[in-house]
């Protein structure tokens, strides 16, 4: 996949998880890698940039295991940015969905039409 494109999607995913709760770094990686194939290499640089750009702030909180953890919290500016990206993405993916399902959702039917046309 185009690197730029993938980065944009992961950025949106990071924003989505932090729109709902304050989380520490490892938990963000954990939550995203449950659904998509990502790791620290892809997530942390984006998390760090969004923080430097003022979309997140950080604070330290003691963990039950002892060592304090850095929590990321979304700022107002971050939330506004999140809404814009989310709208854009929804409009885009909505269009893609329309295109790929023009011929219905059933693979068998698409295949049957393809076969009758090409035979």
């Amino acid at each position: 996949m185009n690197a730029q494109f993938k980065r944009g999607i992961i950025e949106l995913c990071v924003l989505s998880t932090l729109a709902e709760a304050d989380l520490y770094g490892y938990l963000i990686i954990q939550k995203l890698s449950e659904f998509i194939d990502v790791n620290d290499n892809t997530i942390y640089p984006i998390l760090r940039r969004l923080t430097l750009e003022g979309y997140f702030e950080t604070y330290l909180e003691e963990s039950r295991e002892g060592a304090p953890r850095k929590y990321y919290q979304m700022t107002q500016k971050g939330f506004e940015y999140y809404l814009i990206l989310r709208e854009e993405w929804n409009a885009f993916i909505g269009g893609v969905y329309q295109i790929i399902n023009q011929g219905g959702k059933k693979n068998e039917e698409i295949y049957r039409r393809f076969k009758t046309r090409t035979e």
Partner: protein, 316 residues
């Protein structure tokens, strides 16, 4: 995972990151790794979760906004402004003063100058989100002073959280350096000055130069409209989501590792070389200049127009 941390430290310093940045990134990773170990991840799982330090360092170097580290000694702070909310505009009109625009970690717009005693001909203000720096019209003996005492230079730092809606710079002989700046619309007009742009995000960018050279590295644009008479233009490792328009009379253009939607090239006698330049569509026109695009990857380029009177046009 000690090796991961050690390698990461080394890779980050190789990429010119500051001590403070490295310390912060390492601390974040020590914390994340210890959190993962507490969750009971095996060594193997840790390796897949944290990946490759080299790759991580590359990504970090690419993602981290380029912040200026040290101010040069001969410069001193002239004025500082706290950015107000709302739309931000920058308007700079100079004659032959060199200027550098950069990003700072502070929340203030800072203006530095190298000759504090010679600032009377300049007007600097920040009102309603508009930063203005101008040289007053002057005549008579005053205009000779620069030749006797050397020219004033400026450096203007913007908070890295700031997005500038409209950025315009006009000057005659000034050399201009831009690092890391984030603007939605960018307009630059210069006659003889050279321009360097690095790690910037400039939305719709327009520049007009006569003799000055322009060099752009690692930047992102929505569109570029570059008009030059005899100055040369270089564009490296950048991406343009829409149109890359280059019009030159006798200046040469060199483009390396870039992609764009439409490449619109017009040259009278300047030569244009594209290496790993991947437009979707291309319109190429020249009188006597040669246009050569040679790419490693075979991606189709739809050529809308290709015309030359006596130059050679080639796509390889």
């Amino acid at each position: 995972m000690k090796k991961f941390i050690d390698d990461l430290k080394q890779e980050l310093s190789k990429r010119g990151m500051s001590e403070a940045e490295i310390t912060e990134i390492i601390a974040d990773h020590e914390e994340m790794i210890s959190a993962a170990i507490q969750e009971g991840l095996s060594e193997e799982e840790l390796v897949s979760k944290f990946g490759d330090p080299k790759h991580l360092a590359d990504e970090l170097a690419g993602e981290t906004p380029k912040v200026k580290q040290d101010m040069d000694d001969e410069f001193s702070l002239w004025q500082e402004f706290t950015p107000t909310d709302g739309k931000q505009t920058v308007e700079v009109k100079l004659v032959s003063e060199d200027i550098e625009y950069y990003l700072t970690k502070k929340n203030q717009i800072e203006v530095y100058a190298n000759r504090p005693k010679r600032l009377t001909p300049y007007q600097l203000s920040y009102d309603n989100g508009t930063l203005q720096l101008k040289r007053n019209k002057e005549g008579g003996i005053i205009s000779f002073i620069p030749f006797r005492f050397g020219e004033v230079s400026f450096k203007i730092g913007f908070p890295m959280t700031m997005t500038i809606a409209d950025f315009s710079h006009t000057s005659v002989n000034s050399d201009v350096e831009i690092a890391g700046i984030h603007a939605e619309r960018f307009k630059l007009v210069t006659t003889n000055g050279d321009v360097q742009i690095d790690s910037a995000k400039l939305g719709d960018a327009t520049w007009n130069t006569v003799n000055g050279d322009i060099q752009v590295h690692s930047s992102q644009f929505k569109s570029i409209a570059s008009t030059q008479v005899s100055g040369d233009f270089e564009l490296h490792d950048s991406s343009i989501s829409e149109t890359l328009k280059i019009h030159t009379v006798s200046g040469d253009a060199k483009i390396e590792n870039c992609d764009c939607d439409l490449l619109d090239l017009e040259s009278v006698s300047g030569d244009v070389v594209g290496k790993n330049l991947y437009p979707q569509k291309a319109s190429l026109k020249s009188v006597s200049g040669d246009i050569l695009i040679c790419n490693q990857e075979q991606k189709p380029i739809q050529v809308i127009r290709s015309h030359s009177v006596s130059g050679e046009i080639q796509i390889q």
